[in-house]
Amino acid sequence: MFEALAHEFMQNALLAGILAGIVCGMIGSLVVVNRQVFLAGGIAHSAYGGIGLAFFFGLPVMPCAMGFTLFASAIMAGVTLKNPQRSDTIIGVLWAAGMALGIILLDITPGYNVDLMSYLFGSILTVPRSEIWIMVGLVIAIIIAITLFYREFLILAFDPEFARTQGVHVGLMHFVQLAMVALSVVMIIQVVGLILVIALLTIPPYIAGRTSRSLFSMMIQASLWGIVFCTAGMALSYTYNITTGAAIIAVATVTFFLVLAFDALKPKTRG
């Protein structure tokens, strides 16, 4: 594989994988500790509507998808705050509606359109250098946001009721958090596709969260796991000529089950 790194497209793919791994670790940790996996899935699938809009109107795909996904995440944030008991229904509706909108818009867009599968299962090998810079900017923005609002995210995730008594703007932080999920999801779609994005958002944080003693260390460990899965998946994909996105998730899934087995077999201790 190392000889392949001489090619720019492979360098871009590796960079995209590393950046996606970092984002998965940080944002995925927040998704997992807040029990928002279904919500993140809804945001991910609704992103397809943004992709369809981009092709229909001839706009750049990533910014358009981000804008649409931010809009969808704002609706979901509002619903989960106002009516948490019914939120899963609304999320399911938006999940399906976003997908349907994207497919219909792509159907009616004249001319040759990009293979739909590339957005469903990822197309890391076609990520251009220009989008790498957008991803770098996103990662920096997410790191800054998490650094600035770490305490709010921490207390809100651990004890939402107590957070209110401490003056945390629970509603605002909920919107900010889901906005970060929306931006991250669009980035990760490039790597593993929207079908598999949930796996990359959840598996690394789950593995990290078992042994971490803080949310911060969970994010760091999860980011490292994300990078390992992406690079190992790419190596497998290159060696055996299989879809890169699926290879990444396969590596993550195997690791997940190995960790489960290890946890089941090791003697229980407090600590």
């Binding site: 500790v33 995730a157 939402p160 803080s214």
Partner: protein
């Protein structure tokens, strides 16, 4: 009792009403005055408005009518003086966080600070609160989900104490802990009540056995007894009058015997 001399009541509620939906009242025209240094239990059946009343005191909800003041201020403005221990179920059970970091979360001035790092002085405050709550120092770096229910309860109490509050509020403190944990909880209350005003919200009538000075019974209406005993009127508010099947005197005797509670009226 070493409470600083002040005539300002810890809690002052006047003619307060509240409903969530606007049609079904939860609390109706309630009045309550609690002196500083008191140890008050708020009891009532499920859905009676106990936690709602507590949230009104904390400023998490706003009354539809009437007034409420905590240490002479509108709730929300004086919350630094209140230490709140929510039901243990409100926190995520398997969250990656240590005992020390949970307690540090209780320091309001650090809560919204733009840095990861706690100062040595803040850690000292947290350690002092943990010691007051009876947590062994060897547990400070342990993950909170590795503790027993009773130990977790004490950590949350330490979190409420770390900012040196004047009023300590507990919401269903004994609902998720075993009998030994409950015993330790009441022991701790005996120590803390010397220097604090304490409010305990519970649907468990046996909590009044922990030598409270005031009992408030809530079931849409409110009855306040400053003698720390249950009255006929309070039981009627709680359970309804069953005199056609069980004369009130006999009923009260049965309840007091079973729960070993002081009774009056």
């Amino acid at each position: 009792m070493s409470i600083h001399a002040s005539d300002i009541p810890a809690i002052a509620i006047k003619n307060l009403s509240f409903s969530y939906t606007g049609d079904t009242p939860i609390l109706t025209n309630i009045d309550l005055t609690l002196s500083q240094g008191s140890f008050m239990a708020i009891v009532g059946p499920n859905g009676s408005g106990k936690t709602t009343l507590l949230k009104l005191m904390l400023g998490l909800l706003h009354p539809d009518s009437g007034a409420i003041q905590v240490f002479g201020h509108t709730p929300g403005h004086g919350t630094k003086r209140i230490g709140y221990v929510p039901q243990s179920a409100s926190s995520r059970p398997d969250f990656p966080i240590t005992v020390m970091e949970v307690v540090l979360m209780g320091l309001k001035h650090t809560c919204l600070r733009r840095t990861f790092v706690y100062t040595h002085a803040e850690r000292e405050l947290a350690a002092a609160a943990l010691q007051k709550a009876g947590i062994d120092p060897c547990l400070y770096t342990r993950r909170i989900d590795r503790l027993s229910g009773g130990q977790r309860q004490r950590v949350f109490i330490a979190r409420a104490l770390v900012d040196n509050p004047e009023l300590l509020v507990f919401d269903e403190p004994t609902s998720n802990i075993d009998p030994e944990g409950r015993f330790c909880f009441f022991e701790l209350m005996d120590k803390l009540k010397k220097n604090l005003t304490i409010i305990v919200v519970s649907h468990d009538l046996s909590i009044v056995a922990s030598k409270v000075t005031d009992i408030v019974c809530v079931n849409q209406r409110l009855i306040h007894n400053r003698e720390g005993t249950l009255t006929r009127e309070m039981l009627s508010l709680l359970y309804g009058a069953h005199e056609h099947t069980c004369p009130m005197a006999e009923y009260m005797h049965d309840v007091s015997t079973i729960l070993n509670l002081p009774m009056s009226g």
